[in-house]
């Protein structure tokens, strides 16, 4: 039996129900099927699809990626074909596989989020909706919503009214007080919290004296962000009992365990897909071995294990 089907790996917390805790982070695994030769969608507890917007978006001018200090900065800018044919063209292909599907929705206005949700709700094709209010790569909306508790409250409330699907809120790390954002979302009916999105960052080429990225600014991700992400998961755990999807810099099963111990109920892998496409299987395998070694009989025992020692 594949380890990713091991029943001890099941996640069942509030409205987050997954066969295993490893999720593909939005924007780093396309629409789930592209890499099936080397990274099969069914190895994941859930697949988060690339972010969508109401209208098609061309995205930002290249270069869109640069490698810096052990991580990467990207400025893709939500290139996508829009919600119109999203379900037929992007959701149905992945639907054939035994894994949960998360749509990652984005807007330049609150109404965009409501409109996209309506469409997704009609088709009942996805299993979760992840409200992305933390994209640093778009001029209007995006992270500016995620930094403002009132905007978060308004968007979550509106989306909630349009659907009964489990709702995930994706948080930006670039805030003064993450608890304030989490509470605003929880008060308005969010079901699950995911964090972190990327950190706003800039790289300048000292020879051309120009920013490396076509968009000047981008989002920083990869191994270097992990210790900051762990801290934010820790703080989020203190602010809510909702299920938490932890991500940021995960590159091996040990990193996944660290997120779980800090309070995450599941984890997502992003950037590392580019280095080890088959990372999901490796993490699930590592988790099983860890549970054997440390005598944990279920994943939920690992979740928050360390956090509780200092907070209960």
């Amino acid at each position: 039996m594949l380890c990713c089907e091991d029943s001890r790996l099941q996640v069942d917390k509030g409205r987050l129900k997954l066969k295993n805790p490893v999720i593909s982070a939005s924007g780093t695994f396309g629409y789930g099927i592209e890499l099936q030769d080397i990274a099969h969608p069914e190895h994941y507890g859930a697949i988060t699809l690339k972010g969508i917007t109401a209208k098609p978006r061309a995205g930002n001018p290249p270069p869109r990626i640069v490698e810096v200090s052990g991580g990467i900065i990207n400025s893709v800018g939500l290139q996508n074909d829009g919600i119109e044919e999203f379900v037929d063209k992007k959701v149905l292909p992945i639907k054939r596989y035994k894994t949960a599907i998360i749509a990652n929705i984005n807007g330049t206005t609150a109404d965009d989020y409501f409109l996209i949700t309506e469409k997704l709700n009609e088709h009942e094709s996805v299993d979760y909706i992840e409200i992305n209010v933390s994209c640093p790569n778009v001029k209007e909306g995006g992270v500016s919503f995620g930094k403002n508790p009132k905007a978060v409250a308004h968007i979550v409330k509106g989306v909630r009214e349009k659907t009964n699907l489990p709702l995930i809120l994706k948080l930006t790390p670039q805030v003064t007080d993450i608890g304030e954002i989490v509470r605003a979302a929880e008060d308005n009916g969010i079901d699950i919290i995911s964090l972190i999105n990327t950190y706003p960052a800039i790289a300048i080429n000292i020879n051309t004296k120009k920013p490396v990225l076509g968009n000047i600014r981008g989002g920083f991700s990869g191994p270097p962000v992990k210790p900051m992400a762990i801290n934010l998961v820790w703080e989020t755990r203190a602010a809510t009992n909702l299920p938490i999807i932890g991500m940021g810099g995960i590159s091996c099963w040990e990193d996944a365990v660290e997120f779980l111990l800090a309070g995450a109920d599941a984890v997502a892998v992003g950037t590392w897909h580019f280095i080890e496409p088959d990372i999901a299987t490796k993490i699930n395998q590592g988790l099983c071995n860890y549970m054997d070694k440390e005598q944990f009989s279920s994943l939920s025992e690992i979740t928050g294990y360390t956090w509780r020692q200092y907070n209960d």
Partner: protein
């Protein structure tokens, strides 16, 4: 597409910072077509580094690269017997010849890699193959004997005139067409520094010769899932911009597909 740990069977220092490496990976060798590339994990850096397939036989593939930075320098220090982690074959893997009668290949520096594979792969094809290969000097014109035997005609060009004509490869191409004149069924295929590619494209388009060009861009995944590697497209969309993924829709594309102005400003 495969991810595999390939054993290096040979690595040759060709001088001037250029290297030729061969590794055993049957899965990739059997699927690779001219224009395909592989994504190599280099332990000194984070992201994999894309390198064109230079040659294949039954079970091994060859790459031809210049050590220009941290990743390729690490690769250059590998030894036969060591393993390297590869993903491939990647890309569209196709020079669209639409039954060309005469294939004009124009290579600059390491840009020779995909064109060499084209010549090797299409050795028996009826089309006449004429290679223009530009380099800094005689020391950096590699694989001369192999090329003379793979192509029907070879024109070597060096900046210092130490081998073949002195000057730039595009000048040589122009001279060729002045004497020979264009034939229908001509197709230009080119890969090399952007400055060179730019001149070749404008020449070909001016002469109405279909031009297949192998481009480069910074890549994240190399296999279509991250949208990092895009190139500005000639056809624009509602919001006036349009990009296509080089890793899956390229790296070889018809020159007419590129928004030349945006692309060459960008690089």
């Amino acid at each position: 597409m495969n991810q595999t740990s390939a054993t290096i069977t040979a690595i040759r220092d060709l001088g001037a910072g250029y290297f030729h490496l061969e590794a055993t990976c049957p899965e990739i060798a059997q699927q690779a077509l001219p224009g395909h590339f592989i994504n190599v994990r280099c332990e000194s850096v984070l992201l994999r580094r894309p390198l064109a397939v230079f040659s294949v036989d039954a079970s091994t593939i060859g790459i031809f690269f210049k050590a220009c930075g941290k990743g390729t320098s690490w690769l250059a220090q590998r030894r036969a017997g060591e393993e390297i982690d590869l993903v491939g074959p990647l890309g569209k893997g196709l020079f669209e010849e639409n039954n060309a009668k005469r294939v004009i290949l124009v290579a600059g520096g390491v840009g020779l890699a995909p064109l060499y594979f084209y010549l090797q792969f299409n050795k028996k094809s009826p089309a006449k193959k004429i290679l223009f290969y530009g380099a800094r000097n005689a020391q950096t014109v590699f694989f001369q004997n192999e090329l003379l035997n793979l192509a029907d005609e070879c024109y070597f060009v060096t900046e210092d005139g130490s081998l073949g004509e002195k000057g730039l490869v595009n000048e040589e191409l122009r001279r060729f067409y002045l004497t020979e004149g264009p034939k229908d069924g001509d197709v230009v295929m080119t890969c090399g520094p952007n400055a060179m590619i730019k001149t070749i494209i404008s020449f070909a388009e001016a002469e109405n010769i279909p031009c297949q060009v192998s481009l480069e861009s910074y890549m994240g995944c190399g296999c279509g899932v991250c949208l990092s590697c895009v190139i500005p497209a000639a056809d624009s969309t509602q919001d006036g911009e349009s990009y296509f993924r080089l890793c899956t829709e390229g790296p070889v594309v018809d020159s007419r597909r590129i928004d030349k102005q945006k692309f060459f400003n960008m690089v």
